[in-house]
Protein backbone atom coordinates (compact mmCIF):
# COMPACT_ATOMS: atom_id res chain seq x y z
CA UNK A 1 0.00 0.00 0.00
CA UNK A 2 2.71 2.47 1.05
CA UNK A 3 6.26 2.13 -0.20
CA UNK A 4 8.99 4.35 1.16
CA UNK A 5 12.31 4.11 -0.68
CA UNK A 6 15.44 5.84 0.59
CA UNK A 7 13.37 8.80 1.73
CA UNK A 8 15.34 11.85 2.85
CA UNK A 9 13.55 15.06 3.72
CA UNK A 10 14.78 18.47 4.84
CA UNK A 11 12.78 21.66 5.38
CA UNK A 12 14.04 24.62 3.32
CA UNK A 13 17.37 25.91 4.73
CA UNK A 14 17.41 23.17 7.33
CA UNK A 15 19.16 19.96 8.26
CA UNK A 16 17.55 16.68 7.14
CA UNK A 17 14.61 15.75 9.39
CA UNK A 18 14.26 12.28 7.84
CA UNK A 19 17.31 10.40 6.64
CA UNK A 20 17.35 7.52 4.21
CA UNK A 21 14.20 5.70 5.36
CA UNK A 22 13.05 2.58 3.54
CA UNK A 23 10.07 0.46 4.51
CA UNK A 24 6.76 -0.82 3.27
CA UNK A 25 3.33 -0.76 4.88
CA UNK A 26 1.04 -3.43 3.50
CA UNK A 27 -2.68 -3.10 3.02
CA UNK A 28 -4.62 -3.80 6.23
CA UNK A 29 -1.76 -3.21 8.68
CA UNK A 30 -2.18 -1.38 12.01
CA UNK A 31 1.03 0.57 12.56
CA UNK A 32 2.10 2.81 15.45
CA UNK A 33 4.83 5.37 14.86
CA UNK A 34 6.60 6.27 18.10
CA UNK A 35 9.57 8.40 19.07
CA UNK A 36 10.59 11.46 21.05
CA UNK A 37 9.37 14.95 20.20
CA UNK A 38 11.29 16.16 17.16
CA UNK A 39 12.10 12.64 15.97
CA UNK A 40 10.30 13.35 12.66
CA UNK A 41 7.04 11.45 13.24
CA UNK A 42 4.65 14.12 11.97
CA UNK A 43 7.01 15.00 9.12
CA UNK A 44 6.94 11.35 8.04
CA UNK A 45 3.13 11.20 8.29
CA UNK A 46 2.83 14.29 6.08
CA UNK A 47 4.79 12.46 3.36
CA UNK A 48 1.97 9.91 3.08
CA UNK A 49 -0.58 12.34 1.64
CA UNK A 50 1.82 14.62 -0.21
CA UNK A 51 1.64 17.58 2.19
CA UNK A 52 5.42 17.28 2.19
CA UNK A 53 7.39 15.84 -0.72
CA UNK A 54 10.65 13.91 -0.46
CA UNK A 55 13.88 15.87 -0.91
CA UNK A 56 15.48 12.61 -2.11
CA UNK A 57 14.03 9.14 -2.55
CA UNK A 58 10.42 8.23 -3.14
CA UNK A 59 7.09 7.63 -1.41
CA UNK A 60 4.47 5.62 -3.31
CA UNK A 61 0.85 5.31 -2.24
CA UNK A 62 -0.93 2.45 -3.98
CA UNK A 63 1.61 2.75 -6.78
CA UNK A 64 1.21 6.55 -7.05
CA UNK A 65 4.40 8.63 -6.67
CA UNK A 66 3.60 11.46 -4.22
CA UNK A 67 5.95 13.84 -6.06
CA UNK A 68 3.86 13.54 -9.21
CA UNK A 69 0.54 13.89 -7.42
CA UNK A 70 -1.31 16.50 -5.38
CA UNK A 71 -2.63 16.28 -1.83
CA UNK A 72 -6.15 16.66 -3.25
CA UNK A 73 -5.75 13.54 -5.41
CA UNK A 74 -4.04 11.59 -2.64
CA UNK A 75 -6.86 12.56 -0.24
CA UNK A 76 -9.03 9.92 -1.90
CA UNK A 77 -6.57 7.25 -0.83
CA UNK A 78 -5.16 8.68 2.41
CA UNK A 79 -7.22 10.39 5.12
CA UNK A 80 -5.17 12.56 7.48
CA UNK A 81 -6.50 13.37 10.95
CA UNK A 82 -4.71 16.38 12.46
CA UNK A 83 -4.12 16.94 16.16
CA UNK A 84 -6.30 20.03 16.34
CA UNK A 85 -9.79 19.69 14.81
CA UNK A 86 -10.26 23.48 15.01
CA UNK A 87 -7.87 23.89 12.08
CA UNK A 88 -10.49 22.57 9.70
CA UNK A 89 -13.96 23.31 11.09
CA UNK A 90 -15.59 26.25 9.30
CA UNK A 91 -19.11 25.28 8.23
CA UNK A 92 -22.26 25.98 10.28
CA UNK A 93 -23.50 22.38 10.68
CA UNK A 94 -21.86 19.05 11.39
CA UNK A 95 -23.48 17.57 8.25
CA UNK A 96 -22.03 20.28 6.00
CA UNK A 97 -18.63 19.91 7.62
CA UNK A 98 -18.61 16.15 6.99
CA UNK A 99 -19.85 16.71 3.43
CA UNK A 100 -17.09 19.22 2.52
CA UNK A 101 -14.61 16.52 1.43
CA UNK A 102 -16.99 14.51 -0.82
CA UNK A 103 -18.19 17.80 -2.37
CA UNK A 104 -14.56 18.62 -3.22
CA UNK A 105 -14.27 15.19 -4.84
CA UNK A 106 -17.22 16.09 -7.09
CA UNK A 107 -19.78 13.67 -5.61
CA UNK A 108 -23.47 14.13 -6.42
CA UNK A 109 -25.87 15.54 -3.81
CA UNK A 110 -27.42 12.14 -3.07
CA UNK A 111 -23.99 10.56 -2.79
CA UNK A 112 -22.83 13.28 -0.38
CA UNK A 113 -25.92 12.80 1.81
CA UNK A 114 -25.37 9.05 1.85
CA UNK A 115 -21.71 9.38 2.78
CA UNK A 116 -22.42 11.98 5.48
CA UNK A 117 -25.00 9.72 7.13
CA UNK A 118 -22.70 6.70 6.94
CA UNK A 119 -19.74 8.54 8.42
CA UNK A 120 -21.88 10.10 11.17
CA UNK A 121 -23.17 6.66 12.17
CA UNK A 122 -19.63 5.27 12.27
CA UNK A 123 -18.42 7.94 14.71
CA UNK A 124 -21.68 8.23 16.67
CA UNK A 125 -22.49 11.80 15.62
CA UNK A 126 -25.89 11.09 14.15
CA UNK A 127 -27.87 13.12 16.74
CA UNK A 128 -25.65 16.16 16.15
CA UNK A 129 -25.87 16.41 12.35
CA UNK A 130 -27.69 19.77 12.43
CA UNK A 131 -25.68 21.26 15.32
CA UNK A 132 -22.92 23.82 14.96
CA UNK A 133 -19.63 21.89 15.29
CA UNK A 134 -17.98 24.80 17.12
CA UNK A 135 -20.26 24.31 20.11
CA UNK A 136 -19.43 20.61 20.54
CA UNK A 137 -16.87 19.30 23.04
CA UNK A 138 -13.23 18.79 21.99
CA UNK A 139 -13.75 15.02 21.74
CA UNK A 140 -16.84 15.49 19.59
CA UNK A 141 -15.07 18.05 17.37
CA UNK A 142 -12.31 15.47 16.87
CA UNK A 143 -15.04 13.03 15.79
CA UNK A 144 -16.39 15.60 13.32
CA UNK A 145 -12.89 15.88 11.85
CA UNK A 146 -12.63 12.10 11.77
CA UNK A 147 -16.03 11.71 10.06
CA UNK A 148 -15.11 14.38 7.51
CA UNK A 149 -12.23 12.11 6.45
CA UNK A 150 -14.29 8.91 6.52
CA UNK A 151 -16.80 10.47 4.13
CA UNK A 152 -14.02 10.65 1.53
CA UNK A 153 -13.63 6.87 1.87
CA UNK A 154 -9.85 6.61 1.97
CA UNK A 155 -8.18 3.20 2.17
CA UNK A 156 -5.46 4.44 4.50
CA UNK A 157 -6.08 6.43 7.70
CA UNK A 158 -3.21 8.48 9.05
CA UNK A 159 -3.79 9.79 12.59
CA UNK A 160 -1.52 12.34 14.25
CA UNK A 161 -1.95 11.94 18.02
CA UNK A 162 -5.71 11.34 17.76
CA UNK A 163 -6.27 11.13 21.52
CA UNK A 164 -4.29 14.21 22.66
CA UNK A 165 -6.19 16.47 25.04
CA UNK A 166 -8.96 13.96 25.65
CA UNK A 167 -9.80 11.94 28.72
CA UNK A 168 -9.21 8.19 28.92
CA UNK A 169 -12.75 7.23 27.89
CA UNK A 170 -12.87 9.59 24.89
CA UNK A 171 -9.42 8.42 23.79
CA UNK A 172 -10.41 4.76 23.96
CA UNK A 173 -13.65 5.49 22.08
CA UNK A 174 -11.74 7.13 19.23
CA UNK A 175 -9.29 4.22 19.11
CA UNK A 176 -12.16 1.69 19.12
CA UNK A 177 -13.61 3.47 16.07
CA UNK A 178 -10.21 3.21 14.43
CA UNK A 179 -10.06 -0.48 15.31
CA UNK A 180 -13.48 -1.03 13.73
CA UNK A 181 -12.18 0.60 10.54
CA UNK A 182 -9.17 -1.68 10.64
CA UNK A 183 -11.47 -4.68 10.86
CA UNK A 184 -13.21 -3.43 7.71
CA UNK A 185 -9.87 -3.65 5.92
CA UNK A 186 -8.46 -0.11 6.26
CA UNK A 187 -4.75 0.44 6.72
CA UNK A 188 -4.07 2.44 9.90
CA UNK A 189 -0.98 4.45 10.78
CA UNK A 190 -1.01 6.47 13.99
CA UNK A 191 1.38 8.56 16.04
CA UNK A 192 1.07 8.63 19.81
CA UNK A 193 3.02 9.13 23.02
CA UNK A 194 0.68 6.80 24.92
CA UNK A 195 2.39 3.40 25.07
CA UNK A 196 -0.70 1.74 26.59
CA UNK A 197 -2.61 2.60 23.40
CA UNK A 198 0.25 1.20 21.32
CA UNK A 199 0.24 -2.06 23.29
CA UNK A 200 -3.52 -2.31 23.05
CA UNK A 201 -4.01 -1.57 19.35
CA UNK A 202 -0.87 -1.64 17.22
CA UNK A 203 0.32 -4.77 15.47
CA UNK A 204 3.49 -3.24 14.18
CA UNK A 205 5.61 -0.50 15.75
CA UNK A 206 8.10 1.75 13.99
CA UNK A 207 10.44 3.58 16.37
CA UNK A 208 11.89 6.80 14.98
CA UNK A 209 14.90 8.51 16.49
CA UNK A 210 16.50 11.63 15.03
CA UNK A 211 14.99 11.01 11.62
CA UNK A 212 16.06 7.37 11.37
CA UNK A 213 14.30 4.09 12.01
CA UNK A 214 15.62 2.56 15.21
CA UNK A 215 13.31 -0.45 15.21
CA UNK A 216 10.54 -1.78 13.00
CA UNK A 217 8.93 -4.93 14.35
CA UNK A 218 5.84 -6.37 16.02
CA UNK A 219 4.66 -4.47 19.09
CA UNK A 220 5.58 -7.44 21.30
CA UNK A 221 9.19 -7.65 20.14
CA UNK A 222 9.70 -3.87 20.31
CA UNK A 223 8.40 -3.60 23.89
CA UNK A 224 10.59 -6.50 25.02
CA UNK A 225 13.77 -4.73 23.90
CA UNK A 226 13.86 -2.02 26.57
CA UNK A 227 17.54 -1.17 25.98
CA UNK A 228 16.84 0.02 22.46
CA UNK A 229 13.69 1.88 23.51
CA UNK A 230 15.50 3.62 26.33
CA UNK A 231 17.89 5.19 23.80
CA UNK A 232 14.93 7.30 22.66
CA UNK A 233 13.75 7.99 26.23
CA UNK A 234 10.68 5.79 25.71
CA UNK A 235 9.41 3.16 28.10
CA UNK A 236 7.26 0.15 27.15
CA UNK A 237 3.71 -0.12 28.44
CA UNK A 238 3.17 -1.28 32.04
CA UNK A 239 2.85 -5.07 31.63
CA UNK A 240 6.10 -5.51 29.61
CA UNK A 241 7.83 -3.21 32.14
CA UNK A 242 6.55 -5.35 35.02
CA UNK A 243 7.40 -8.68 33.39
CA UNK A 244 10.94 -7.50 32.70
CA UNK A 245 11.38 -7.05 36.47
CA UNK A 246 10.84 -10.79 36.99
CA UNK A 247 14.27 -11.77 35.70
CA UNK A 248 14.03 -15.41 36.71
CA UNK A 249 10.52 -16.03 35.45
CA UNK A 250 10.72 -14.12 32.21
CA UNK A 251 11.21 -17.23 30.12
CA UNK A 252 8.16 -18.87 31.67
CA UNK A 253 5.97 -15.78 31.26
CA UNK A 254 6.83 -15.22 27.59
CA UNK A 255 6.09 -11.75 26.27
CA UNK A 256 2.61 -10.68 27.44
CA UNK A 257 1.32 -7.22 26.46
CA UNK A 258 -2.04 -6.98 28.23
CA UNK A 259 -3.25 -7.74 31.74
CA UNK A 260 -5.24 -10.71 30.39
CA UNK A 261 -2.19 -12.17 28.67
CA UNK A 262 -0.10 -11.68 31.81
CA UNK A 263 -2.74 -13.38 33.97
CA UNK A 264 -2.82 -16.31 31.59
CA UNK A 265 1.00 -16.51 31.60
CA UNK A 266 1.07 -16.67 35.42
CA UNK A 267 -1.63 -19.30 35.65
CA UNK A 268 -0.04 -21.37 32.88
CA UNK A 269 3.32 -21.35 34.67
CA UNK A 270 1.80 -22.85 37.79
CA UNK A 271 1.28 -19.62 39.66
CA UNK A 272 -2.48 -20.02 39.83
CA UNK A 273 -2.43 -20.57 43.54
CA UNK A 274 -0.58 -17.32 44.12
CA UNK A 275 -2.95 -15.35 41.89
CA UNK A 276 -5.96 -16.69 43.78
CA UNK A 277 -4.39 -16.00 47.15
CA UNK A 278 -3.84 -12.38 46.30
Amino acid sequence: MIQVEELTFAYPNGLPVLENLSFEIKSGEFVALIGQNGAGKTTLLKQFNGLLKPTRGMVRIDGMDTRKSTTGLLAQKVGFLFQNPDHQIFLPTVAQEIGFGPANLGCSREEIDKRVREAAVQVGLEPYLNDNPLFLSKGQRQRVAFASLLSMRPQVMVLDEPTTGQDYREGIEIMEMVKALHRQGHTIIFVTHDMELVARYAERVIVLSQGRILMDDTCRRVFYQPDVLRRTNLFPSQIPCLVQRFDRYQEEFGMPLSVEEFYKAITDSGGEEYVHCS
Binding site: K46, N49, L51, T71, G72, L73, A75, Q76, G79, F80, F82, N84, D86, H87, Q88, I89, F90, F100, G101, N104, L105, L134, S148, L149, M152
Partner: protein, 262 residues
Amino acid sequence: MSIVANYLNRDSLVHRLNPLTKLLWSLWVMGLSFLFGDLWVLTGLFFSVVGVALIARMLREMLPVFKGIFFFALFFWVFQVFFISEGQPLLTLIPGNPGLRITDRGIFIATAMGFRLMVIASSFPVLLATTQVKDMVVVLVEKLKIPYNYAFMFITSLRFIPTFMNEMEQIIQAQCSRAHRLDSRNFVTRFFSICPLAIPLMITSVKKAEQMAISMETRGFGIGKRTYLHRHDFSRTDWLVSIGLVLLAFSVVIMNQMGILN
Protein backbone atom coordinates in the same frame (compact mmCIF):
# COMPACT_ATOMS: atom_id res chain seq x y z
CA MET B 1 5.92 39.52 5.92
CA SER B 2 7.91 37.64 8.50
CA ILE B 3 11.10 39.26 7.20
CA VAL B 4 9.62 42.70 7.67
CA ALA B 5 8.69 42.20 11.30
CA ASN B 6 11.61 40.03 12.41
CA TYR B 7 14.49 41.26 14.49
CA LEU B 8 17.90 40.15 13.20
CA ASN B 9 20.46 39.75 15.94
CA ARG B 10 23.81 41.36 14.95
CA ASP B 11 26.58 43.15 16.78
CA SER B 12 26.69 46.44 14.90
CA LEU B 13 26.78 50.16 15.52
CA VAL B 14 23.16 50.49 14.39
CA HIS B 15 21.96 47.71 16.72
CA ARG B 16 23.70 49.34 19.69
CA LEU B 17 21.99 52.70 19.15
CA ASN B 18 19.11 53.70 21.40
CA PRO B 19 15.73 52.74 19.88
CA LEU B 20 14.71 56.40 20.07
CA THR B 21 17.68 57.43 17.88
CA LYS B 22 16.68 54.84 15.30
CA LEU B 23 13.06 55.99 15.44
CA LEU B 24 14.27 59.57 14.92
CA TRP B 25 16.32 58.40 11.91
CA SER B 26 13.32 56.62 10.44
CA LEU B 27 11.10 59.69 10.87
CA TRP B 28 13.94 61.87 9.53
CA VAL B 29 14.18 59.83 6.34
CA MET B 30 10.41 59.80 5.85
CA GLY B 31 10.05 63.51 6.68
CA LEU B 32 12.75 64.59 4.22
CA SER B 33 11.26 62.39 1.50
CA PHE B 34 7.97 64.22 1.94
CA LEU B 35 9.63 67.66 1.97
CA PHE B 36 11.62 67.18 -1.22
CA GLY B 37 10.30 66.05 -4.57
CA ASP B 38 13.70 66.29 -6.20
CA LEU B 39 14.87 63.03 -7.79
CA TRP B 40 18.48 63.35 -6.60
CA VAL B 41 17.56 64.01 -2.97
CA LEU B 42 15.15 61.04 -2.98
CA THR B 43 17.70 58.74 -4.64
CA GLY B 44 20.25 59.86 -2.04
CA LEU B 45 17.80 59.18 0.78
CA PHE B 46 17.04 55.70 -0.53
CA PHE B 47 20.71 54.81 -0.76
CA SER B 48 21.24 56.19 2.75
CA VAL B 49 18.68 53.60 3.96
CA VAL B 50 20.59 50.88 2.05
CA GLY B 51 23.78 52.27 3.63
CA VAL B 52 22.32 51.94 7.15
CA ALA B 53 21.37 48.31 6.37
CA LEU B 54 24.98 47.77 5.25
CA ILE B 55 26.40 49.28 8.47
CA ALA B 56 23.95 47.08 10.43
CA ARG B 57 25.53 44.07 8.64
CA MET B 58 22.28 42.74 7.30
CA LEU B 59 22.16 43.96 3.71
CA ARG B 60 21.91 40.37 2.45
CA GLU B 61 18.86 39.63 4.61
CA MET B 62 17.23 42.96 3.70
CA LEU B 63 17.68 42.46 -0.06
CA PRO B 64 14.41 40.48 -0.49
CA VAL B 65 12.58 43.30 1.31
CA PHE B 66 14.16 45.97 -0.94
CA LYS B 67 13.40 43.82 -3.97
CA GLY B 68 9.73 43.50 -2.99
CA ILE B 69 9.45 47.25 -2.44
CA PHE B 70 11.19 47.88 -5.78
CA PHE B 71 8.61 45.82 -7.69
CA PHE B 72 5.82 47.61 -5.89
CA ALA B 73 7.39 50.96 -6.85
CA LEU B 74 7.80 49.77 -10.44
CA PHE B 75 4.10 48.95 -10.61
CA PHE B 76 3.36 52.42 -9.20
CA TRP B 77 5.76 53.99 -11.75
CA VAL B 78 4.03 52.36 -14.74
CA PHE B 79 0.71 53.62 -13.42
CA GLN B 80 1.98 57.12 -12.72
CA VAL B 81 3.98 57.78 -15.85
CA PHE B 82 0.93 58.01 -18.14
CA PHE B 83 -0.88 60.55 -16.00
CA ILE B 84 1.73 63.30 -16.22
CA SER B 85 1.22 65.20 -19.44
CA GLU B 86 3.71 68.08 -18.86
CA GLY B 87 6.96 68.21 -20.82
CA GLN B 88 8.12 66.92 -24.18
CA PRO B 89 6.26 63.81 -25.37
CA LEU B 90 8.63 60.90 -25.97
CA LEU B 91 6.16 58.12 -26.77
CA THR B 92 2.45 57.95 -27.52
CA LEU B 93 0.74 54.60 -26.95
CA ILE B 94 -2.27 55.23 -29.17
CA PRO B 95 -1.44 57.76 -31.93
CA GLY B 96 -3.77 60.74 -31.84
CA ASN B 97 -4.82 60.16 -28.21
CA PRO B 98 -3.09 62.75 -25.98
CA GLY B 99 -4.07 60.85 -22.77
CA LEU B 100 -1.74 57.90 -23.07
CA ARG B 101 1.70 59.34 -23.68
CA ILE B 102 5.00 59.38 -21.91
CA THR B 103 6.86 62.68 -21.52
CA ASP B 104 10.42 63.43 -20.35
CA ARG B 105 9.03 65.35 -17.36
CA GLY B 106 6.63 62.43 -16.68
CA ILE B 107 9.50 59.95 -16.45
CA PHE B 108 11.41 62.30 -14.14
CA ILE B 109 8.47 62.89 -11.78
CA ALA B 110 7.29 59.24 -11.77
CA THR B 111 10.83 58.07 -10.99
CA ALA B 112 11.05 60.57 -8.12
CA MET B 113 7.69 59.38 -6.79
CA GLY B 114 8.85 55.77 -7.10
CA PHE B 115 11.95 56.56 -5.04
CA ARG B 116 9.84 58.42 -2.48
CA LEU B 117 7.71 55.30 -2.10
CA MET B 118 10.82 53.13 -1.74
CA VAL B 119 12.29 55.45 0.90
CA ILE B 120 9.09 55.50 2.95
CA ALA B 121 8.56 51.75 2.71
CA SER B 122 12.16 50.65 3.31
CA SER B 123 13.15 52.63 6.42
CA PHE B 124 10.64 50.90 8.73
CA PRO B 125 11.79 47.32 7.94
CA VAL B 126 15.38 48.41 8.66
CA LEU B 127 14.23 49.95 11.94
CA LEU B 128 12.36 46.77 12.96
CA ALA B 129 15.21 44.48 11.93
CA THR B 130 17.72 46.41 14.07
CA THR B 131 15.53 47.07 17.11
CA GLN B 132 13.81 44.56 19.35
CA VAL B 133 10.15 45.51 19.60
CA LYS B 134 10.17 45.18 23.39
CA ASP B 135 13.03 47.72 23.62
CA MET B 136 11.08 50.05 21.36
CA VAL B 137 8.01 49.75 23.58
CA VAL B 138 9.98 50.41 26.78
CA VAL B 139 11.43 53.56 25.22
CA LEU B 140 8.06 54.72 23.94
CA VAL B 141 6.51 54.26 27.38
CA GLU B 142 9.39 55.60 29.49
CA LYS B 143 10.72 58.42 27.34
CA LEU B 144 7.74 59.44 25.22
CA LYS B 145 5.16 58.70 27.95
CA ILE B 146 2.86 56.68 25.69
CA PRO B 147 0.32 54.71 27.83
CA TYR B 148 1.62 51.15 28.33
CA ASN B 149 -1.63 49.49 27.17
CA TYR B 150 -1.35 51.10 23.73
CA ALA B 151 2.32 50.21 23.45
CA PHE B 152 1.50 46.67 24.55
CA MET B 153 -1.19 46.40 21.89
CA PHE B 154 1.38 47.40 19.26
CA ILE B 155 4.00 44.88 20.46
CA THR B 156 1.41 42.08 20.67
CA SER B 157 0.08 42.64 17.16
CA LEU B 158 3.63 42.32 15.79
CA ARG B 159 4.39 39.30 17.95
CA PHE B 160 1.30 37.48 16.67
CA ILE B 161 2.25 37.73 12.96
CA PRO B 162 4.54 34.63 12.94
CA THR B 163 2.05 32.74 15.17
CA PHE B 164 -0.77 33.41 12.74
CA MET B 165 1.38 32.45 9.78
CA ASN B 166 2.12 29.14 11.46
CA GLU B 167 -1.60 28.61 12.18
CA MET B 168 -2.42 29.44 8.56
CA GLU B 169 0.07 26.82 7.36
CA GLN B 170 -1.63 24.18 9.53
CA ILE B 171 -5.09 25.21 8.30
CA ILE B 172 -4.02 25.09 4.64
CA GLN B 173 -2.64 21.58 5.21
CA ALA B 174 -5.81 20.44 7.00
CA GLN B 175 -8.08 21.72 4.21
CA CYS B 176 -5.85 20.41 1.40
CA SER B 177 -6.11 17.00 3.09
CA ARG B 178 -9.86 17.25 2.43
CA ALA B 179 -9.20 17.83 -1.28
CA HIS B 180 -9.78 21.59 -1.02
CA ARG B 181 -8.28 23.43 -4.01
CA LEU B 182 -6.64 26.80 -3.67
CA ASP B 183 -5.31 27.17 -7.20
CA SER B 184 -8.51 27.78 -9.14
CA ARG B 185 -8.15 30.04 -12.19
CA ASN B 186 -11.62 31.48 -11.84
CA PHE B 187 -11.41 34.67 -9.75
CA VAL B 188 -14.80 34.14 -8.04
CA THR B 189 -14.14 30.53 -6.99
CA ARG B 190 -10.66 31.59 -5.93
CA PHE B 191 -12.12 34.30 -3.72
CA PHE B 192 -14.57 31.87 -2.09
CA SER B 193 -11.84 29.26 -1.64
CA ILE B 194 -10.41 31.57 1.05
CA CYS B 195 -13.42 30.98 3.37
CA PRO B 196 -12.32 27.50 4.55
CA LEU B 197 -8.99 29.09 5.56
CA ALA B 198 -10.15 32.44 6.91
CA ILE B 199 -12.89 31.16 9.23
CA PRO B 200 -10.77 28.62 11.16
CA LEU B 201 -7.97 31.23 11.35
CA MET B 202 -10.36 33.79 12.82
CA ILE B 203 -11.76 31.32 15.35
CA THR B 204 -8.36 30.03 16.49
CA SER B 205 -7.07 33.63 16.68
CA VAL B 206 -9.88 34.73 18.95
CA LYS B 207 -9.27 31.66 21.13
CA LYS B 208 -5.53 32.42 21.25
CA ALA B 209 -6.16 36.06 22.17
CA GLU B 210 -8.51 34.99 24.94
CA GLN B 211 -5.99 32.48 26.30
CA MET B 212 -3.31 35.14 26.21
CA ALA B 213 -5.52 37.64 28.07
CA ILE B 214 -6.15 35.07 30.81
CA SER B 215 -2.48 34.11 31.13
CA MET B 216 -1.49 37.80 31.24
CA GLU B 217 -3.97 38.43 34.04
CA THR B 218 -2.72 35.44 36.03
CA ARG B 219 0.72 37.03 35.84
CA GLY B 220 -0.54 40.32 37.23
CA PHE B 221 -1.02 42.41 34.10
CA GLY B 222 -2.70 45.75 34.73
CA ILE B 223 -2.32 45.79 38.53
CA GLY B 224 -0.50 49.11 38.72
CA LYS B 225 2.70 50.87 37.81
CA ARG B 226 5.25 48.70 36.03
CA THR B 227 9.00 48.68 36.38
CA TYR B 228 11.41 47.58 33.62
CA LEU B 229 14.34 45.21 33.66
CA HIS B 230 16.53 46.98 31.12
CA ARG B 231 17.45 50.65 31.04
CA HIS B 232 17.86 52.45 27.76
CA ASP B 233 20.16 55.39 28.29
CA PHE B 234 21.21 57.79 25.60
CA SER B 235 24.91 57.19 24.86
CA ARG B 236 27.38 59.67 23.37
CA THR B 237 26.96 58.01 19.94
CA ASP B 238 23.20 58.49 20.24
CA TRP B 239 23.63 62.20 20.90
CA LEU B 240 26.11 62.52 18.03
CA VAL B 241 23.84 60.71 15.56
CA SER B 242 20.71 62.59 16.67
CA ILE B 243 22.36 66.03 16.53
CA GLY B 244 23.95 65.08 13.20
CA LEU B 245 20.56 64.14 11.76
CA VAL B 246 18.93 67.37 12.96
CA LEU B 247 21.79 69.51 11.62
CA LEU B 248 21.76 67.67 8.30
CA ALA B 249 18.01 68.20 7.99
CA PHE B 250 18.39 71.91 8.74
CA SER B 251 21.22 72.36 6.27
CA VAL B 252 19.28 70.56 3.51
CA VAL B 253 16.24 72.77 4.14
CA ILE B 254 18.38 75.96 4.15
CA MET B 255 20.23 74.85 1.00
CA ASN B 256 16.88 74.29 -0.63
CA GLN B 257 15.66 77.73 0.44
CA MET B 258 18.79 79.34 -1.00
CA GLY B 259 18.26 77.49 -4.25
CA ILE B 260 21.55 75.55 -4.05
CA LEU B 261 19.87 72.15 -4.47
CA ASN B 262 18.03 73.13 -7.61
